[in-house]
């Protein structure tokens, strides 16, 4: 076992982990941050996407020890300071961009990473960026709409094209 220390959602945390412990298991287990989900074991589904030092990372594809000293942000850290939904979260609710909710944390974290790099993505850019996030419920229609809306674009006009 080795000790690992990092900042998660702004708070310093540390714990003892095995070398093989994945970041996602450290978040979900010792830290109790169960909003980050595990949907596969081949780094395909994206339910576990978090931000590590500002970059979107699949937390199942990184060891906890690799995040030593990192700033990690999870879905639990995405709401506004007063607890209300952030812009992307609110757009997902407004546009029914989630059903069972299981892929949702990863979708929101991926969407946030996309909009940071590309504040006004086209429909095609959104779809391409989400290639690493699988949703089985929504058929992606309302997820794409939600991200367009979160970026301040005219959703009905784009969806009608």
């Amino acid at each position: 076992m080795s000790n690992v220390t990092m900042k998660v959602n702004g708070k310093p945390v540390s714990g003892d982990v095995e070398g093989r412990t994945l970041l996602v298991d450290f978040l979900r287990g010792p830290l109790g941050l169960t909003g980050t989900h595990v949907g596969c074991d081949t780094s395909q589904c994206g339910a576990c996407v978090v931000h590590v030092n500002g970059e979107a990372v699949k937390a199942c594809a990184m060891f906890a020890l690799e995040a030593e000293g990192a700033e990690v942000r999870t879905i639990e850290g995405m709401a506004e300071a007063d607890g209300s939904l952030g812009t992307i979260q609110a757009a997902f609710q407004e546009h029914h961009g989630l059903q069972c909710g299981f892929c949702t944390p990863g979708m929101v974290m991926s969407a946030a990473a996309l909009l940071k790099d590309n504040p006004k993505p086209s429909e095609a850019e959104i779809r391409e960026y989400l290639e690493g996030n699988i949703c089985r419920c929504t058929g992606y229609h309302n997820i794409v709409k939600a991200i367009l809306a979160a970026s301040g674009q005219d959703v009905p006009a784009i969806a009608a094209e």
């Binding site: 029914h96 391409e128 949703c135 229609h141």
Partner: protein, 787 residues
């Protein structure tokens, strides 16, 4: 103006807030003090004699508490099957034992052999690698036709791989044969309905707990129907009475059918927790899900449609092999029979129909219901053969459909069901409008200019939801009732808690159910809370599948609320010193007709629990009512779908350019949620048509066993869809007039995709291409173009 609350409003989902902030509570999020971890050792061969399991080395490894094998489960029951089909000769299906852990034989890759329970997950996993099963490999049987023609036996003790040979309607067989023989035209099509894996994004999880102080067991599980699991596991497997067994299905991350069934892992953790006197947790890996979740579809069919010279359908005959896999999953026998044969009339007046289904055991994962369950298989065959017939007879495929539409309701089909309502011309008219079929030629020209082939495919569908009534399905072999329940508890301060037997795993019941109740009473939706998913605090219910929640569960809720209102009116009448019959409830206020006397909803609720001024001699205090609703019939949603594809002639790659769906779901409670259900269903149907396919190699290895190999649609594989549900013929036999919308998209979309690809190829001169089996991968489409 669209409504902003109540029935018909697109109320935003209240459950979203917890899901969007990481506060959902899924089964894997549940950890119990002192819990141990289970890791399953599974067969890596498809068929073999299990001579023994060497656990000695593993048992000595750090943290190992106990290793269980099949021998530990000899004294308990097998995993039960919930539906018994009777065959053509009046004999019941073959029903081999399905042990919790394999004993004597392994029958598919993934068949559980042993389970290591250890202090930590890592210790359990490490020790599992040291468990050595002694297996003598046997030749597997994988092909269904070979399986019934003398192939190796999956279950030696039953002497055959043929589970049943079902004929429907058997009395029609000779007349159907004669009509086909004498017909002007017969179109024949052989097709495969590809084997699918449901893949809800949340893998299955089961946590067993045992309380020594009262000898009770609790199972937390990823289930669509916790009461069904409690009954099946308690009564048939472990012998735990229902009053000592609680099953909780908290937030569940999608189901699509595969979380209906009772699985060995659920029985295992419940059993092991009692043995070890501590909680035991099992979480499937995705790889494990691929070889242990029940698969779906997997039919091989020959269909023949007989027509007269004018294109009227005369008779339909189908011959289907349906894969059951290695064991009978919970509702597997019902899927190719009563959920498939009864739908073969589709939207059409075909007077004579005969369906033959041979259900077959093979050395593969069990196959059971997946979104649509039997109805997509029926729709695909029918809508493909109609398209082929139109092409052969040189008539327009839409006109051929219209000519044969059922137009008068109620309509009794020759396959034992009676449609209550529908308007198939209306949904077809709506489809032509929203799909902009008139603009197709211009889009075709544009595709051609870009070097692409373009095709347009359309089809109709009918679905049967809310399977019922119980006394009928009992005659058909169901070993369960198919009602739904609701308890409505009004609190003293006027808020309501509705305890429903329905289960929400993405459908948004916590939002849509209150819309109904709030409208009935005339109060704010936020005064109504929905409780579901826990046998300890909900009445016996059958759960959610078959698009039944609103049609059956919602109806139970309405009935219970009607009882509440009736009692509340009596209380109001007493306080207002009026007769019961003169009391009206509107906008949350009780009034005496023709007067200005009124009483607020909250005042009556308070009076029910503080009964000072109350008719105690005639009426019990309190305001809580339960209803069980058993529908008189199925509901019959219907619709028409259109797909436009482009095909790359160089690679065979198909892209979905446009997709439109015109559905008739009867009345709609929350249009936003209904749209979302249709979107998701369409995506799964497109997935089946273009990408998805569970594939076994000759040794019985599942070669599509991960997301690297089993191709599910991603965001960039799909377009925006155009959906419409403005055509509404309300159901006549439930109080809400609703029909159900959960499966329609998955049922209605595959034929239109395949019809569109065939159309594209035909337009490009590949006139010999009349069918391509799903999934229409680039390789298959390219090969078809070379032929």
């Amino acid at each position: 103006m669209p409504k902003d609350h109540g029935i018909g409003a697109s109320t935003k989902r209240r459950e979203d807030v917890r899901f969007l902030t990481g506060k959902g509570r899924y089964t894997d999020d549940i950890n119990i003090n002192g819990q141990a971890y289970a890791w399953f050792v599974r067969s890596d061969v498809a068929h073999g004699t299990l001579n023994g399991v060497d656990t000695a080395d593993a048992a000595a490894m750090p943290g190992v508490l106990r290793i269980f094998t099949g021998a530990d489960f000899e004294a308990v029951g097998g995993i039960p099957c919930g539906w018994q089909v009777t065959d053509r000769k009046g004999e019941v299906m073959l029903e081999p034992r399905h042990p919790v852990l394999a004993h004597g034989k392994v029958r598919h890759v993934g068949d559980p052999i042993a389970v290591v329970v250890a202090e930590t997950l890592e210790q359990a996993r490490d020790a599992a690698e040291a468990v050595v099963p002694d297996i003598t490999e046997l030749e597997p049987v994988l092909d269904m036709k070979a399986a019934v023609q003398g192939g190796p036996l999956v279950h030696d003790e039953i002497g055959s791989n043929l589970c049943y040979d079902w004929g429907f309607v058997e009395e029609n067989k000779e007349a159907v044969d004669a009509a086909i023989k004498g017909a002007h035209h017969v179109t024949t099509l052989e097709l495969v309905n590809n084997r699918l894996i449901a893949n809800p994004m949340e893998p299955r999880v089961a946590v067993g707990d045992y309380a020594q102080h009262d000898d009770s067991s609790t199972l937390y599980t990823t289930s669509q129907n916790p009461h069904v699991i409690r009954l099946l596991m308690g009564a048939f497997v472990l012998g735990i009475p229902e009053h000592k067994l609680r099953v909780v299905a908290p937030d569940v991350g999608g189901g699509f059918g595969t979380k209906i069934f009772h699985y060995a892992e659920e029985a295992f953790v419940t059993f092991a927790a009692k043995e070890l006197k501590r909680a035991v947790k099992w979480t499937a890996t995705r790889s494990e899900a691929f070889i242990s979740d029940a698969h779906g579809r997997d039919h091989v069919t020959k269909i023949e449609l007989a027509l007269d010279a004018d294109g009227h359908f005369l008779a339909l005959r189908t011959d289907t092999y349906a894969n059951m896999g290695a064991y009978l999953s919970t509702f597997a026998p019902s899927v190719p029979t009563w959920l498939h044969g009864t739908l073969m009339a589709g939207n059409y007046k075909t007077p004579l129909i005969y369906v033959n289904v041979k259900a077959v055991f093979t050395n593969t994962v069990p196959v059971d219901a997946y979104r649509g369950a039997g109805r997509p298989e029926a729709t695909f065959q029918l809508e493909r053969v109609i398209d082929k017939a139109a092409r052969e007879m040189g008539v327009d495929p839409i006109e051929l459909r219209r000519k044969n539409f059922i137009t008068e309701f109620p309509y009794a089909t020759p396959v034992a069901v009676e449609y209550d309502t529908g308007d198939y011309h209306a949904t077809m008219d709506k489809l032509l409008e929203i799909a902009d079929v008139a603009g197709f030629d211009a889009r075709l020209a544009k595709s051609k200019a870009n070097g692409k082939l373009r095709g347009l495919g359309m089809n109709c569908y009918i679905e049967a939801c809310g399977i019922a009534p119980s006394n009928l399905v009992g005659q058909l072999g169901a070993r369960a009732g198919l009602y739904e329940s609701a308890t409505v508890r009004v609190n003293a301060t006027g808020g309501l808690v509705v305890m429903t037997g329905s289960h929400s795993h993405g459908q948004g019941h916590e939002t849509s159910f209150p819309q109904v109740i709030a409208e009935m009473i005339g109060i704010d939706e936020n005064m109504v809370e929905i409780v579901h998913g826990d046998t300890a605090n909900t009445p016996m219910g059958m759960g959610t599948y078959g698009s039944r929640s609103l049609a059956v569960g919602g109806s139970a809720m309405v009935r219970a609320t009607e009882k509440i209102i009736a009692k509340a009116k009596k209380i109001a009448a007493h306080i207002l010193e009026a007769s019961d019959a003169d009391i009206e409830l509107k906008d949350g206020s009780f009034t005496v007709a023709g007067t200005d006397k009124s009483l607020a909803w909250g005042d009556v609720c308070l009076a029910a629990y503080v009964p000072h001024n109350y008719p105690l001699a005639d009426l019990e205090p309190g305001l809580e009512e339960t209803a069980f609703y058993d529908p008189a019939n199925f509901t019959y949603p219907s619709g028409a779908y259109a797909c436009e594809v482009e095909v790359d002639p160089e690679t065979g790659k198909v892209t979905i350019e446009r997709f439109a769906a015109a559905d008739d779901f009867g009345n709609i409670v929350n249009p936003m949620i209904v749209d979302g259900q249709v979107h998701g269903g369409i995506a799964q149907g497109i997935g089946q048509a273009l990408m998805e396919g569970a594939s076994y190699d000759e040794a019985g290895q599942l070669v599509s066993g991960s997301y690297m190999d089993y191709t599910m649609p991603r965001a960039d594989d799909l377009p925006f869809y155009t959906v419409d549900h403005s055509c509404q013929t309300p159901c006549t036999h439930n109080p809400l007039g609703v029909k159900g919308c959960g499966e329609a998209g998955a049922i209605g979309s595959p034929p239109s995709v395949v019809n569109a690809v065939v159309d594209a190829l035909q337009r490009a001169g590949h006139t010999n291409v009349t069918h391509i089996d799903m999934p229409l991968s680039p390789a298959r489409v390219w090969a078809a173009m070379q032929g």
